[in-house]
């Protein structure tokens, strides 16, 4: 779908400084305006998906930067792309589309580089309300960043310089005369769409547009006209006069995250976000970007009205940068690890769906999650082993809240007792919840994630019992070992789709699982006694579920494959690799019950 096919799209042309800019507007012009500025080598179509989602809420404006897409190019090209001229263009567009109200600015790549100029120069003051920056630092800030590292080179700083220097290889290339133009108009221009699909996982479609070879050739002057001049003599007054939201893709091959280390100095009202993705996030992660832009613009509009600083409206927990606004579904969320995980995500500002067969407990988790920072949270009563119920839940979640960004398959039940005492009914129960519950979750929600094609993460709660054999837990360990293997297989398959899969192996954690566990071969009274006793032992161990929750969030951020949590879980994992025989020996010991 191209931009002009979107409902309500109108195209207009804005004349400025001898050129004509092609501008497209979407949405209600009476609403606050959001201006999206594209990067190199792109045209405004890079924003199509993001613009489509923002248009319901805001007046969205896109324009082709001079020399790109359907805008005309300056003559001569040399000297026609300076940041000063780009600022003139922006002001002309802003005056045309929103003459009496400041606009919200969003920039990607070179769009962000030039937007940094817009928000740090005097003459735009009062014309911009907020700025969302992704994958494009200010050349002035970058210049100071380099100077700092050159003037006091510690090993770490030299490392950072060399790292970014290597990532900027294309900048040097673009400074050579004529060759880049020839390449873009020749083979590179032809290969580019396929390269983007392969390397960046940009979905195929009508992007990049057919104007790409010309855009890229003209755009080379963006670099030649500005980079050397600014990096050698950066402005010392490049302070942002508006609130800035910085979105850093963690897998960007062109820009190091370290570039933004001291950005607070230059942008006092800064909100940071980090996104699991590569460079072309407007194409690969449009949903996430649209929701963050929407949230930031709304917060700024509200702040303009009641005068509260924007940062106060954004959660600031340890993982808020990464999970703010994401949709997280946790099963087994009425207690223990599931509930603690739901709370940890809530504190990071995620929206939470708390699923449990205990309806009251799930509702309670959702209620508390809202109180500690989740912008929204819902409790759902579903038994994970019931396939139809899970299908229904997935449909409902997708329709009402959106596609799940992080899925935590945590629901599980305990079963202890020797193999000969374990009935087939016991086996069925344990496998239904512990294994089939995870399979249903991965299959149904995993498919939604894969079909959306914008990445995601699945966390499965296995157990240290997955690799620690034991004569006391044959059924439980078997179910958990299956979960561990399932997670590792799934991880291999989903890697292509940028969906991470982690298996968490907590170990002995103080949760309610012991109070509801079945003890095969024990009568009711004996079972009650054993439950009490194990609960007491787990209570004495007293490892809090909150720490497991923390390990889960960390596993998602780092995309870890297998995470043993407690020291005993880590020890057993190590032994299972170094000396499995020792573990087999331990497995023969009778547990102290």
């Amino acid at each position: 779908m191209s931009l002009l096919d979107l409902p309500g799209a109108r195209e207009r042309r804005v004349r400025t400084g001898g050129i004509e800019l092609c501008v497209v507007e979407l949405g209600d012009a009476a609403r606050p305006t959001v201006v999206l500025v594209h990067g190199y080598p792109d045209s405004k179509e890079v924003w199509t998906e993001v613009a489509k989602q923002l248009a319901g809420q805001w007046h969205v404006v896109l324009y082709d930067v001079r020399g790109h897409g359907r805008s005309t190019a300056p003559k001569p090209l040399r000297g026609g792309f300076t940041l000063e001229k780009l600022t003139d263009d922006f002001l002309a567009v802003a005056d045309a589309v929103s003459p009496d109200r400041p606009v919200h600015l969003v920039g990607h790549d070179w769009g962000s580089v030039q937007s940094w100029e817009f928000v740090t120069v005097k003459r735009t003051e009062g014309r911009i309300a907020s700025f969302t920056s992704m994958s494009g630092p200010s050349l002035d800030h970058f210049g100071h960043w380099i100077k700092q590292r050159m003037s006091r080179p510690t090993p770490r700083r030299v490392g950072q310089l060399l790292g970014q220097g290597a990532k900027s290889w294309y900048v040097y290339m673009l400074h050579t005369p004529v060759l880049p133009e020839l390449a873009w108009r020749g083979p590179l221009g032809k290969q580019w769409p396929r390269m983007l699909q392969r390397l960046e996982k940009v979905p195929a479609g009508d992007y990049p547009t057919s104007s790409l070879p010309d855009d890229a050739a003209h755009g080379a002057w963006l670099y030649r006209d500005n980079v050397r001049a600014r990096l050698s003599r950066p402005r010392t007054d490049a302070y942002a006069h508006v609130p800035v939201q910085l979105i850093t893709p963690t897998g960007d091959v062109f820009l190091s995250e370290k570039l933004y280390d001291q950005l607070e100095v230059w942008a006092p009202q800064l909100v940071r976000r980090s996104l699991d993705g590569k460079h072309w996030v407007p194409r690969t992660r449009p949903d996430r970007l649209a929701s963050w832009i929407d949230e930031f613009v709304a917060a700024n509009e509200a702040a303009a009205e009641d005068g509260r600083p924007v940062q106060d409206t954004v959660p600031s927990g340890a993982y808020a940068e990464r999970f703010g606004g994401q949709l997280v579904l946790v099963t087994g969320a009425a207690g223990g690890i599931g509930r603690a995980t739901a709370f940890a995500f809530a504190e990071a500002g995620a929206r939470v769906v708390a699923v449990d067969r205990d309806a009251e407990g799930a509702a309670r988790t959702a209620e508390m999650a809202r109180l500690i920072g989740a912008p929204a949270a819902w409790g759902e009563a579903v038994d994970v082993s019931d396939e139809q119920a899970m299908e229904k839940l997935a449909e409902k979640v997708a329709a009402e809240y959106g596609v799940v960004d992080v899925l935590v398959n945590n629901a599980g039940i305990g079963l202890s007792g020797s193999f000969l005492d374990t009935t087939s009914e016991d086996w069925r129960n344990v496998l239904d919840v512990n294994l089939w519950g995870v399979i249903h979750g991965c299959r149904i929600f995993g498919r939604q994630m894969a079909e959306r094609g914008q990445g995601g993460h699945i966390v499965n709660t296995a157990s240290a019992a997955a690799y620690q054999p034991s004569r006391a837990l044959p059924a439980y360990s078997t179910s958990k070992a299956a979960v561990l293997m399932l997670s590792e297989c799934l991880r291999a398959e989903f890697a292509d789709r940028s969906i991470g899969v982690s298996a968490i192996c907590p170990g002995i954690v103080n949760t309610n699982i012991t109070a509801t566990a079945r003890f095969a071969g024990a009568d009711a009274a004996e079972e009650q006694r054993l439950r009490k006793r194990t609960s007491r032992l787990y209570g004495l161990r007293n490892y809090p579920p909150e720490r497991v929750a923390d390990a889960i969030l960390k596993a998602v951020v780092r995309n870890q494959a297998v995470v043993p949590v407690t020291p005993e879980a880590r020890g057993a994992r190590l032994l299972s690799r170094l000396s499995p025989g020792a573990l087999r020996g331990i497995a023969r010991l009778k547990p102290p019950l």
Binding site: R339, F343, G361, R364, L371, I372
Partner: protein
């Protein structure tokens, strides 16, 4: 004592009620004077001074104050961490004031949870404490072993989504016995506790040890007995991540056969009880 408390208006109970009211009045007065920037030490001193001005000379324990995540006893490992620090109060921060004055020979031990400004989470915790007050009274009237009641309180907290923070108290107690204290001119303190009251508690412990009960209500085996007649300062304490809330007040247990008379809260006209009543009216 046990026969005296059968009548709720017994002069002895009046004495305890008077000092409990005095302590809560102090908590409310000090809470009203808390401003951003006040430290825990200053808040503790404000309580001490307020009560001294009104004739308090001895203490079961000196006043405490906890601010912010210290209300949830985050990271409390050693008893010294209970003592007031230089932590400063900030807008939106929860606080707890806890004091146990001795007045005219009667002891009270109270806990007051408040918050500087709006904090919906703190409101939720305070509201959820009501169920605990009802549960404790109901099960004490049923003469359930103290240890079982303790476990039921903990279960309710877990169901509500909270952590049981009175586990962090010495011996993990949810309550301890209080009694009359002989007034002497010299009333020294050790580690913030009045020696005369400690002596009372200690003699109770010795006495109870012979008869198979304990003046400390804990999760351990020594609390595996039905409620012992007397006055118990009960303090269920909820913790939720960085926020904590508790109340502490005196529960009267008697040897009466009439369930109503066998146990009752010393006073129902207290800030947290009034707050719940107001909420019900508002709803």
């Amino acid at each position: 004592m046990t026969s005296a408390v059968k009548d709720q208006r017994a002069p002895e109970l009046e004495g305890f009620r008077e000092v409990q009211r005095l302590a809560y009045a102090c908590a409310e007065a000090v809470a009203g004077r808390l401003r951003p920037g006040v430290t825990e030490r200053e808040a503790a001193r404000m309580q001490r001074d307020w009560l001294r001005e009104r004739g308090v000379r001895d203490w079961f324990h000196l006043p405490f104050a906890w601010f912010g995540d210290r209300t949830a006893f985050a990271g409390f490992k050693v008893p010294l961490q209970f003592f007031p620090t230089d932590r400063r109060l900030e807008p939106g921060m929860p606080f707890i004031l806890d004091m146990a004055p001795v007045y005219k020979g009667f002891t009270a031990d109270i806990g007051y949870s408040g918050c500087l400004g709006l904090n919906p989470l703190h409101d939720r915790l305070l509201a959820d404490l009501e169920d605990h007050r009802e549960l404790i009274l109901r099960e004490v009237r049923e003469r359930r072993p103290l240890r079982e009641i303790y476990e039921d309180v903990e279960r309710l907290m877990i169901r509500q989504g909270y952590a049981n923070r009175h586990r962090a108290y010495p011996f993990g107690v949810i309550a301890h016995k209080v009694d009359r204290v002989v007034e002497r001119r010299w009333a020294p303190q050790v580690f913030g506790f009045g020696t005369r009251s400690l002596k009372g508690l200690l003699s109770d412990a010795l006495h109870g040890h012979r008869e198979g009960w304990s003046p400390l209500w804990s999760p351990y085996r020594f609390s595996d007995h039905p409620p012992q007649p007397g006055l118990w300062a009960v303090e269920p304490h909820l913790g939720f991540r960085g926020t904590g809330a508790k109340f502490e007040e005196i529960l009267v247990v008697t040897d009466s056969k009439d369930p109503e008379q066998s146990a009752f809260w010393l006073d129902d006209d207290l800030p947290h009880v009034r707050r719940w009543a107001e909420e019900r009216v508002a709803a």
